[in-house]
Structure formats: structure tokens, C-alpha cells
């Protein structure tokens, strides 16, 4: 073991990671990192954070983003020069009258249309290429763990809701709807990787989640009974807990497994 009379602090390593330290300090830290395992471990963690942060995509605006923005901005700049005039905020602008409302309506309609139209150049999924495979594996397992944990909580809530409940099922419906959306992606991936067991559980779960998402906001006794019956008939709580357990075992393994993403 090499004795060290100096170690860079975490903040020094952060500066180093962004190359904000002086060149002579950079050389000293690089030398130190080759020899000191403790500092090298911190360094790897900071680098992993940088990679993860860089892998988080921002949706790329549509090709005509600048035109769309200008269409929203320009009407608020109609008098010049800028320093001597009043500039309306978007809410004030909408309120000033029929002419402005018409313009705003056109702008808003265009904006909504853009939001529902796929961009001509969608953001590339660069994450897969830039992050180590073990981190990727862990992220995917964390996602699945979260999906099934939420599913389990929802199923338990439904099973334990009082029969004569007059309360709203709005929250459960919304949660189920979110889970249906994410479940579709997991289902596709599970099928691609040939994970039959996971695919089957996801199929069973999707059916119930869809039923919950489409249930009346204030269900009667029969509605709840039908949902519970399906949960019990398919042994869903047991299956969800079992698959969650498998996922957690795999999460606990140091490093990624080599069995594929799921």
C-alpha cells in the first residue's frame, strides 16, 4: 500500500471532472488516481454521475421550432423601439380583445398541433451508447422494480378497499393508466429478450390495469368485485411479488448480469 500525504477532496475531483482545475493540478490528480484506490472509487462515481446526467435526453424541438417560437413572440413586440413600449405577457395578450384572441388562437392551435405531431428529427436514444452496460442493466432493473412495486401497491389498495366505499377511484385509475403505458414498453422488451415468465406476468397485469383504468370514477360494489375477482383468479399479487423478488435478487448482484437487459 502506498502511503499518501495528500488526497484530493470530492470537490477537487468535481473540478477535475469538468477540467476546471489548473493544468499542474490535473497532472497531480491523474497521478494520484492511478495509485489511490479510495480516490479512484470516488472518481468513478463522479464520472458515472456525469455519464448518467449526459444520457438524460431533452426532447429535440421540431424542425420549425424557431418559426413557431417567433410566431408566439412577435405579436408581443409589435411596437418599437423596445425600451419605450409596453410588452404584454402571454395572459394579458390573450385578454386584450377579439383581434388578439384570434391571433392567439391560431398560435395555440399551431402549438398544440406541433405537440401532437412527431418531430421530423426525433432525439436519438444516445443513452445506450454512452453508459456502461452494468449501469444500463441496473437502470432497467430499477425501472422494472418500480413498475411492479407500484402495481403491487395498487392491487393491495383495490383488494382492501371497503365494499361499500362511495369514494372516488380517480387516483387508482390514473395510476393504472400510467402503469399501462409503461407496461407496454416492458412487455415489448420482455418479448424481445425471450423472457416468457415476465411477459406472462406483464400480460396478466396489463389486463387488470386496463380494467381499472377504464372503470367508473365512483365504482359500485359489482365493479370492485369484478376487478378483485380477476386479481384473485389470476393469482396476480403472488405473481407480482415473485417477479419483484427475482428482480431484486438480480439488482443485488454486483455488476450487471449477462442475461440480457431483462
Amino acid at each position: 500500500m502506498t502511503p499518501f500525504d495528500w488526497h484530493p477532496t470530492d470537490d477537487d475531483l468535481t473540478l477535475h471532472a469538468y477540467r476546471d482545475d489548473a493544468p499542474d493540478e490535473q497532472a497531480a490528480i491523474d497521478r494520484h488516481l492511478r495509485e489511490c484506490e479510495a480516490c479512484a472509487a470516488t472518481w468513478r462515481e463522479i464520472q458515472a454521475l456525469q455519464q448518467l446526467a449526459s444520457a438524460a435526453d431533452v426532447p429535440e424541438p421540431a424542425e420549425d421550432f424557431e418559426d413557431a417560437m417567433w410566431a408566439r413572440i412577435a405579436p408581443q413586440l409589435h411596437a418599437w423601439p423596445p425600451a419605450r413600449r409596453r410588452v404584454w405577457t402571454s395572459r394579458q395578450f390573450v385578454a386584450v380583445g377579439a383581434w388578439a384572441a384570434t391571433i392567439a388562437g391560431i398560435v395555440v392551435a399551431g402549438h398544440l398541433w406541433l405537440r401532437h405531431t412527431p418531430a421530423a428529427t426525433p432525439a436519438k436514444p444516445t443513452a445506450a451508447a454512452t453508459v456502461p452496460s452494468d449501469v444500463r442493466e441496473r437502470v432497467l432493473l430499477t425501472a422494472l422494480d418500480s413498475h411492479f412495486s407500484q402495481t403491487e401497491m395498487l392491487l393491495v389498495e383495490l383488494m382492501n378497499a371497503p365494499d361499500d366505499a362511495k369514494g372516488s377511484l380517480a387516483f387508482e385509475r390514473e395510476t393504472a393508466d400510467d402503469l399501462v403505458q409503461s407496461g407496454r414498453l416492458y412487455r415489448v422488451t420482455a418479448a424481445q429478450t425471450g423472457d416468457r415468465r415476465l411477459t406472462d406476468v406483464l400480460d396478466d397485469v396489463q389486463t387488470v390495469l386496463t380494467e381499472v383504468a377504464r372503470a367508473p370514477e365512483t365504482p359500485d360494489k359489482d365493479d370492485l368485485a369484478a376487478i378483485r375477482s380477476r386479481i384473485e383468479r389470476n393469482d396476480l399479487l403472488f405473481k407480482v411479488r415473485a417477479v419483484t423478488n427475482d428482480i431484486r435478487v438480480r439488482q443485488d448482484k454486483p455488476g450487471a448480469s449477462n442475461e440480457g437487459a431483462l
Partner: protein, 189 residues
């Protein structure tokens, strides 16, 4: 050859609408990315871009030509983005489904690519959301926009050492928040 930002600002301040349009064309995407990192919502980020340029226009006479227009704009954009997040009580930080749908339709990614990208974005966005406004802005500017510490200080009205420490605090908190993704789980965590 395209005129530089300082020239366009002078022209715009003098009433040249085309010059201001060029500034919007040149900077609106980077303001959008900054705003998206802070708000976590496409719609909010677009509103922030609009509001940023309207405010910038209103303050053009205060812009000092020796400054960097992009950094000046980030400062306004940052304030607009913070206003947007504060005015929205139920902020949704996860990546928008539309982005995933967009990729899926384009056939550009496999299922686990989509899950992975969505999860990364959601987790990073959540970690960013847990930072203070100042830390979040400092991290976004340093990491995503490659602003120098001095530029961050200018944009956030901080001394250089305070800007540096805002980045340090942000990195420390982000490491803690994202540690489960980069290190094996331990019992009880």
C-alpha cells in the same frame, strides 16, 4: 457573414425586428434545453422560451455589449424557468410519454432502449428537481451548457467562489440521489 450577437442586439434595440428574429433563431433551442432541464416539461419549457425573449426584448437597453448575450439570456431564462416551476403546483418530472412515443414511431430504439432512456431522464430530472434553484441552474449550466464557472457566476449574480460551490453542492446531491443506479444495492437501502 452573419453579424455577431452584440451587433444584432444594437440593431434590435434600435427597432430592427429582423435582428431580434435572428437572435431568437440563434438562441431559442439552447434556452429551450436550459428551461426543460429546470422545468422538466416541454410545454413549460416552450412557454419559458417565449417569456425569456419577451423579457429580453424589454430589457435590451440594459444589455452591456461587452457581456455574452447567451449568458445574459440564460440568466433571464433561468428566472423565467424558476417562475414556471413555482407557479405549477403539481409538477410532473418524468419524461413525457410523447418523447418515448416519438422514438417508438420512428423505429429508432428497441424496447429496453426506450425504457432505459425514459428512466434515466426521469431519475436525473427527479434528482435535479431536488436541488435548490441555484444549485440546479449551476449544474445545468456547467454540465449541459458547458458554461465556465465565471459565466455561471455572471448569470446567477454570484461571486466566482459561490458559483463554484453551487456546482459542488449540486454534484454532491446528485451523486447521492443517483447512487442506486451506479452502485449495487445494499441491505436496508
Amino acid at each position: 457573414m452573419q453579424p455577431d450577437d452584440a451587433t444584432l442586439v444594437r440593431q434590435a434595440a434600435g427597432g430592427d425586428q429582423t435582428a431580434f428574429r435572428l437572435l431568437v433563431d440563434r438562441h431559442s433551442r439552447s434556452v429551450f434545453r436550459l428551461a426543460y432541464r429546470i422545468t422538466g416539461q416541454r410545454e413549460d419549457a416552450e412557454d419559458v422560451v417565449q417569456e425569456t425573449f419577451v423579457r429580453a426584448f424589454r430589457q435590451l437597453d440594459r444589455f452591456e455589449s461587452r457581456s455574452n448575450f447567451g449568458t445574459w439570456l440564460y440568466r433571464i431564462g433561468f428566472n423565467c424557468a424558476i417562475d414556471a416551476t413555482r407557479s405549477r403546483s403539481h409538477r410532473e418530472t418524468a419524461e413525457e410519454p410523447s418523447l418515448l412515443d416519438q422514438r417508438a414511431r420512428a423505429g429508432m430504439a428497441t424496447g429496453d432502449d426506450l425504457i432505459y432512456a425514459g428512466q434515466i431522464s426521469a431519475q436525473v430530472q427527479q434528482a435535479l428537481g431536488a436541488l435548490s434553484d441555484q444549485e440546479r441552474a449551476a449544474f445545468v449550466m456547467r454540465h449541459y451548457h458547458e458554461c465556465s464557472i465565471d459565466e455561471i457566476g455572471q448569470a446567477l449574480d454570484l461571486k466566482t467562489s459561490a458559483a463554484k460551490h453551487a456546482v459542488f453542492r449540486a454534484v454532491r446531491k446528485m451523486r447521492v440521489a443517483l447512487r442506486p443506479l451506479v452502485a449495487p444495492r445494499t441491505e436496508g437501502t
